[in-house]
Amino acid sequence: MLKIIQNLTRRTPLGWLQLTQHKSRFAVAISGVAFADLLMLMQLGFQGALFDSAVILHSKLTADVFIISPQALNIGAMSTFPRRRLYQAMDITGVKSAEPMYVNLVTWKNPQTRDKKNLIIVGFNPDRPIFNLPEVNSQLDKIKQSDVLLFDRKAIGAYEKVVESVDDGKAVTTEIERRTVSVNGLFSIGSSFSADGHLMTSEDNYLRLFSRQSSGNINVGLLTLNPGYDPTQVVQQLKAYLPRQDIKVLTKEEYIAFEQGYWQQQTPIGPIFNLGAIMGFIVGVIIVYQVLSTDVNSHLREYATFKAMGYSNTYLLGIVFEEALILAVVGFIPGLIVSLGLYTVVGGATNLPIAMTVFRAAQVLAGTLIMCMLSGAVATSKVQAADPADMF
């Protein structure tokens, strides 16, 4: 190991010198790699935002254990199960409370534009708060009134006037399912891939809107445990105790994984973004291969000379890989910076929770290294063609 480092320090950095001699060529090469990185980071960023936004509501729930229907698909299509199961769940020691949550996708008329838009609507008992959202919990009295809703100020769409008016204390009315409803308060969650934003109301108001759903059939059961009880163990006990055919019991992590799993597997959205990232990777491979093979071609004479001097093939391959490594690392930096900028722009425009994670940056850096090494490996085949016997 020490020997390798020693060798590196006495070695002339040929790859670096070759690459940087032609400044404009180098700049083009770097932008190529940066562009590939940008593509990968954006695609993976969108994908990450999708999976984060899919559980944006889940993350605000205070419950420890969740009961859902086996037919549930995602937060906008939870199906129903008998409310009885909640009372039965209370028999298990450690279960402190069991509350129903009604949730569905709903089409409402944007009060400002009269356009129809999809939102997620949540109904719950205003005497038993289920969210750790202080803004919601301080306005529970409002939703006790009939046909009164709270609205998501971070919903995407033209809602500035609605927000302004409600903030001024003036309620805004609109229509859901041909029923006139009134927005009397605001909270902040944001959009998800299934809807532009969220609405909250009491379970009574909810059931008035969805007249086909009876109060005996609920969408999600929210169980809170007494301190000191392990959710995983309680879930095991509940599974053994409750009839299996009409419910599923999950911890919070499992419920979040369930929702994300839906978007990952049941829709093409995950694969599409993966494909996008792979495209970025391939674009990068092609660009880097072009750069490296042009470079090798234009240095064949020099390489043959080095071979004639006694340098081994391995040494020359090292130059190509050195160049590949430099392109990967130097190209990654502008790629990362530009995508951070774009993350902010896109996040601001869509209210999607799009954020850079260390994991993703490391993932793309690793991808870039593989991409450059792969291209380097292909480009080196030309190095073998440098024959010192043809030099004289």
């Binding site: 320090t9 010198l17 000379t305 001097m309 006694g310 081994s312 016997a389």
Partner: protein, 233 residues
């Protein structure tokens, strides 16, 4: 008895395979002793370059015997050839300097192959070598900023900086004007004498024949007695 630096016995060489197989070297016998300066001349296509590249380990010998510095190169593996090359200096017709490297860096490439030389020593020896070839003031120039003669002198410095036992040169003056050609040959001569280096030089340029201790003549793949030298070229 001192072994010859280059010892060639019954060497044949063929190019191509099957029906296209063509013999270019016929029964070559040659011995070159330490410190000798040998000039090889002869008509175009006679096989001079072929023989030189074989002595340098750039092309493997097929039949007969070719011993360079005591190592048999006939039938040697690619790896053995690569190692044997480290003991020779080469000067090509074109300078073949690396365009991205300064004169100093180019010369240093001739030393990096030898792992026991420290960085400081490599730099010092390379600079001294450049001073010897009269380029002490051009150490950090890129090849594009040097004249043809200067580039060839950097190439000489690169070939000689590791103090090789053998210097092989193939028409080193062909790309140079008369005066720089003369300067380059004189320089090779002087440095080789100082380092006790053996030189095998191929040339068509009969103006430089006077530096030779011995002149050999190649014709149709055979070494012949040198004819009247004034007719050569």
């Amino acid at each position: 008895m001192i072994e010859p630096v280059i010892y060639i016995n019954n060497l044949d060489h063929y190019f191509g395979k099957g029906a296209l197989r063509k013999q270019v070297l016929f029964d070559i016998n040659l011995e070159i002793n330490i410190g000798e300066i040998v000039i090889m001349t002869g008509p175009s296509g006679s096989g001079k370059t072929t023989l030189l590249t074989m002595c340098g380990g750039l092309r493997s010998a097929q039949s007969g015997s070719l011993k360079v510095l005591g190592t048999e190169l006939c039938g040697a593996s690619a790896k053995q050839l690569t190692i044997s090359r480290r003991h020779h200096g080469y000067i090509f017709q074109a300078h073949n300097l690396h365009e991205s490297l300064t004169a100093l860096q180019n010369v240093k490439m001739g030393l990096e192959l030898h792992p026991d030389i420290s960085v400081a020593e490599m730099n010092q020896r390379s600079i001294e070598m450049l001073e010897l070839v009269g380029l002490g003031d051009r150490v950090n120039y890129l090849p594009e900023n040097l004249s043809g003669g200067q580039k060839q002198r950097v190439a000489i410095a690169r070939a000689l900086v590791s103090q090789p036992k053998i210097l092989l040169a193939d028409e080193p003056t062909a790309a140079l004007d008369k005066q720089s050609g003369r300067d380059v040959v004189d320089l090779m001569h002087k440095l080789a004498k100082e380092q006790d280096c053996t030189i095998l030089l191929v040339t068509h340029d009969n103006r430089i024949l006077d530096v030779a201790d011995r002149i050999i003549y190649m014709e149709d793949g055979r070494l012949a007695k040198a004819p009247d030298l004034q007719k050569v070229s």
